[in-house]
Symmetry: C2
Subunit: 357 residues, 2 copies
């Protein structure tokens, strides 16, 4: 079998710690299921700024393009926050998404039954929660042109632009419908079509694509209402598809409904199944180096990678089962710990998943 | 005393019903506290489209400019949803905000102790919740230029723009700090300064304005994190100040934390204390005409109006006390009804507030 490459980018903050555990699990899965996958390593974000002077080096990007998948820890931290926006860690993240064409961001928000009480919402509102947010990731206002002008009266005016073309909308809408077909066949498209022109085009194209998916029940919702409905009755949703900025806000809100964002993986896919996989949580600089971060979201990102990019559902399910097993063993890192549970550090948690696998 | 005018715009859906009750309360307050206020009436939104062919007629706008305050029910509904965006009910709302210069939107999210159990969040997470969101209301992407172009490859691209000038940011930042001074002296400014240029200018100007308010503790938060924190631990906030779009999303999310959006009023102020007052909830076309809508948010909007525009704290407090009294009497409209409570309709609720006042 041809060996396929995975580029590993541990990143900043807790990134290297959680990645170390995820790699133990990944290496075991590669052996056990004879996956024929090879790991290559580099840096992204703050770590890349320190090493190469830029948040994403050309050489790193070339490696990422050559690899079949990228596994990322987390980027950013206060050490680099005083840098100019154009050379900050986040810029590396935006650039790699854009250069690899990773327009389809999958953000599941799942409540693990073992962690139900960690949610700030009432049990009956969130028990069994399982929604998927599909966020457009390489267009819209995070990538549109921007400028700051000096007006005639001498004051500055800064401006961002939110552009969407038909083809950009069509391809992410398709991802939304495809995901709905794999799940409960309900898709909610979120926009602000009562005010924004880009949202009007969004809604029009989503309606067009819907014709190819007669089995999927499509609805539309304004973003302000969606932000409310996620709090009021999140289980009404199956799949949500939305633009880059609305998706950024709503997917974070949805993750937090579960109360355990340390458990949630994400995938960012191109048109051919190549993807970048990373935990939903950030680099948590406040706890970096303390050995207490939760590695499970990164481990579950490995599982998503095996499922979506490498089409290895058996290995993916085995990892998910191992994670569920360690939760059943009442092992908990600090972020998901509750009275009566056994508190463990990052490494112990990783070792427990390895043992369960 | 000179008679000051209030322009009453009942609007669409449940608007006329809830307004009828609010006006009973307002008329009683005018008599009882000798406020010397006169009511004039007109239409906005769908009702204005039906009557005048436009969502905001020039004559209505002239009346609004002449009045000291505008009291609004709610606008919009499916009947007008097929109209082109530029002549839909929402356009009337955006235009009156802009023409009157109502840049400062105050959206309190308060959990009434009597209604604590209505929230979808756990009691310990929301009990005693009292936050104020200050939303910029006449700038940003809801008012920037927009266009749809045909690209060289024949497909369309739609684009919106998000502009903010220094002076627009400065005046809303001041409102944020002033409100913080009246409350617990903590202000959180929400932006996406790691990506957006308008947010970078926003943050810079907020920092400048902060120098004039040394007593206020200022923090900054990215909008995606703010959407999470509102779910995780909303009581960490006192006052939030943010731009038009982020404010739209976050203020609706925050209202829903209380579980009783039917209780929440809002104010939209210009630079001189003139304001438009309206409930946070929408026009609820599904229950319009049934006599079951909750009039309390509109009644509390009257109270906000007396407090902010007419500087009548005594009358304002009396109305708030009357609302609290009817809740203590266990009277509830359907939206906030719970087992053991006495369910009442729109009119009974209004009458009960009048009686309590
Ligand atoms: C760091 C930032 C640019 C990024 C985004 O907003 O896309 C992050 O919030 C995310 O969601 O991955
Ligand atoms: C109707 C719409 C234009 C409006 C807005 O987004 O401003 C509404 O959602 C609101 O918040 O008052």
């Amino acid at each position: 079998t041809v060996t396929k490459q995975i580029l590993v980018l541990p990143g900043d903050g807790i990134g290297p710690e959680i990645m170390a555990e995820a790699l133990k699990v990944l290496r075991l899965a590669i052996d056990k299921f004879q996956l024929g996958l090879e790991l290559v390593f580099d840096e992204l974000g703050g770590a890349a700024i320190d090493k190469y002077g830029v948040p994403l080096a050309d050489d790193t990007l070339a490696k990422a393009k050559k690899a079949h998948a990228v596994l990322l820890g987390a980027v950013g931290g206060p050490r680099w926050d005083t840098l100019e926006r154009s050379i900050r860690p986040e810029r590396g993240l935006l650039k790699i998404r854009s250069e690899l064409g990773l327009f389809g961001n999958l953000r599941p928000a799942i409540l693990y039954p073992q962690l139900a009480s960690a949610s700030s919402l009432k049990p009956e509102v969130v028990s069994g929660l399982d929604i998927l947010i599909v966020r457009e990731l390489t267009g819209g206002i995070y990538f549109g042109p921007r400028e700051t002008k000096v007006l005639d009266n001498g004051e500055r005016r800064a401006q961002d632009t939110l552009p969407y073309s038909e083809s950009e909308i069509r391809r992410i809408a398709k991802v939304g419908f495809e995901m709905a077909m794999l799940r409960n066949k309900r898709l909610c498209s979120v926009d602000k079509a009562n005010v924004l022109e880009s949202s009007q085009l969004w809604r029009e194209i989503v309606e067009q694509v819907a014709k190819d998916y007669p089995e999927v029940e499509l609805s539309h919702m304004y973003v302000d209402n969606a932000a409310m409905q996620l709090v009021r009755a999140p289980k009404q949703f199956d799949v949500i598809v939305t633009d880059n900025m609305f998706g950024d806000i709503l997917s974070d809100e949805a993750s937090m409904l579960t109360g355990s964002i340390g458990m949630l993986p994400s995938a960012s896919l191109d048109a051919n199944g190549k993807g970048m996989y990373e935990p939903c949580h950030g680099s948590a600089p406040d706890i970096a180096g303390k050995g207490i971060a939760n590695p499970l979201a990164t481990i579950l990102s490995v599982s998503m990678m095996l499922r979506y990019t490498f089409a290895q559902p058996e290995a993916a399910s085995a990892i998910e089962q191992a994670v569920s097993d360690v939760l059943d063993q009442n092992l908990r890192t600090a972020d998901i710990w509750l009275e009566g549970m056994h508190k463990v550090g990052t490494r112990e948690m990783g070792d427990a998943v390895v043992a369960a696998l």
